[in-house]
């Protein structure tokens, strides 16, 4: 079991990897999250995308993305997640995959799979796409479609089959919450059935739309204990066949996740309009200005920009982190979560039991412990607030 920020992030393995080049204190990045668009055919209520889209600016053009990918390769990035929103809504996706391969990046498509026709998939294969991750909402159509807010489960199953037919390695991702945790056993069985090599059981991280929906999505402790037991057993049973990753729900733990493996340390995110962020949810920190790839090089933004340096290293830390022996391990947790829950991104993440704001989180979690009268969580989806997708003016 492990935890990480995230919304489908590349795990860059830390052992055998230099934190920084010997000459400078700025580390090199290994992974890029390319959010190609915020547009999406689905309105998932658990979506971690921002609830407010950037007020200005159009999506980066094909040429701008190609330039960004090439700069990422030069900066040392070895891995790109092509995500969004729904990356398949970019008709230039295959061209961008080819550009990423050209730049020396391992390419992983993170998709809802809506829009993945055979023709599309074959073009992506030809362009050099290395791997595909498809997100599912549950094990069967009625629940899955009510969580996704759109009929989509059957199409996802077909797309998964197509992906396996074309010999792409497939990761099966499911975001877990109150509505589907009770179906975990069946969800694991579905992942096996569609032939996934890897199963990502991702407890909801409460950012964006998920934060808005937290009361409806937070699980009970009983649900979680059961889920952990099932996931641990599946991991053993499927060893060597399907890699099972269970991402812990940090609201329920004692220590925070080592978010992004440290701010400005391993990863960067470029959002659809070209803002470069230390993490995909950093726009939750309203006062921080993020520089844009249209004005600056990726190298400059990574090394010099105010945003990337604001929480880099340990010097910014308040107590209790400042004198804690975990500070180089969890980096004080997540800045965005600190901002969302305490109003100040510079505080210790309340997911740490040592945080002076821990009671804020405890109150939220305690509030989720009761099942409502007659509630069988997975049949009750009327309390979900579906994501509102960006208007066309952004595109």
């Amino acid at each position: 079991m492990k935890d990480t920020k995230d919304t489908g992030h590349a795990e860059i393995t830390s052992q055998q990897m230099p934190t920084s080049s010997p000459q400078s204190s700025v580390p090199r990045p290994f992974g890029l999250l390319a959010e190609l668009t915020y547009r999406c055919p689905l309105p998932c209520p658990y979506c971690s995308n921002p609830t407010q889209y950037p007020p200005t600016g159009a999506e980066l053009t094909t040429e701008e993305w190609k330039r960004t990918l090439s700069q990422a390769g030069d900066l040392g990035v070895l891995h790109v997640l092509l995500s969004g929103g729904e990356p398949l809504l970019r008709s230039d996706l295959a061209e961008l995959v080819a550009a990423a391969r050209e730049a020396g990046l391992y390419t992983n498509l993170i998709t809802s799979a809506l829009g993945l026709t055979r023709d599309r998939a074959e073009r992506l294969k030809a362009a050099g796409l290395d791997s595909v991750q498809i997100s599912f909402q549950a094990d069967e159509a009625s629940l899955a479609d009510s969580i996704a807010g759109t009929p989509s489960h059957a199409r996802k199953r077909e797309a998964a089959k197509l992906v396996r037919d074309l010999n792409f390695p497939l990761t099966f991702n499911v975001v877990l919450h109150r509505k589907n945790l009770g179906r975990l056993e069946a969800i694991i069985a579905l992942a096996e059935e569609v032939g996934a090599e890897r199963l990502e059981l991702a407890n909801t991280q409460f950012y964006g739309w998920a934060f808005k929906n937290k009361e409806a999505l937070l699980p009970t402790r009983v649900q979680l204990e059961e889920a952990e037991r099932i996931a641990a057993a599946a991991k053993v049973r499927l060893s060597g066949k399907m890699d099972v990753l269970y991402i812990l729900p940090d609201y329920y733990g004692d220590r925070p996740k080592p978010c992004m493996n440290g701010w400005g340390r391993r990863y960067l995110t470029v959002n659809p309009v070209g803002d470069v962020l230390p993490c995909p949810t950093a726009s939750e920190i309203k006062w921080l200005h993020f520089d844009n790839i249209r004005q600056h090089s990726l190298a400059w933004i990574w090394a010099e920009s105010v945003a990337f340096n604001r929480f880099r290293g340990t010097a910014w830390m308040p107590q209790p982190c400042r004198s804690c022996d975990q500070r180089e391990i969890d980096f004080g947790g997540c800045r965005c979560q600190a901002a969302l829950l305490t109003g100040d991104a510079g505080n210790t993440d309340p997911a740490c039991s040592l945080s002076p704001y821990r009671d804020v989180l405890n109150r939220i979690v305690d509030g989720a412990q009761q099942l409502l009268e007659g509630e069988t969580p997975s049949s009750h989806t009327t309390d979900l607030q579906y994501r509102i997708n960006p208007s066309h003016s952004l595109t």
């Binding site: 860059i12 992974g31 070895l78 891995h79 391992y106 890699d243």
Partner: protein
């Protein structure tokens, strides 16, 4: 996938092969060999790189050990357990398929 990945203990006739989802390339920054796979990256040290380069489904475990022993001027016996351990770590991450002796006839 035609070959199911096997979960067998290493024997001398096993032919390790990098999983289809993984690939290697030289890292521009460090010059090291980088092992790339869906959820991350491993930068390999020189011995790791030498081992991974022999995981081509052609060399048996025994042949790998002999080749490495010659290259590093050490005895196959003393290398064998280190190599096995390294391969096991790769296998745990799902980065290695072990083709058993019987399978390799087909």
């Amino acid at each position: 996938m035609n070959d199911e990945p096997h979960n067998l203990p290493l024997s001398s006739g096993t032919r390790p092969r990098l999983a289809a989802k993984a690939r290697v390339q030289t890292d521009k920054i460090s010059g090291k060999l980088a092992l790339l796979y869906p959820e991350g990256v491993l930068l390999l040290n020189p011995t790791g790189a030498a081992i991974v380069e022999l995981c081509d489904g052609q060399h048996t475990f025994q042949e790998m050990v002999t080749t490495l022993a010659a290259r590093y001027k050490s005895s196959p016996n003393s290398l064998s357990s280190d190599v096995a351990e390294y391969l096991d770590r790769l296998r745990e991450r799902g980065l290695l398929e072990l083709i058993s002796e019987e399978d390799s006839y087909w």
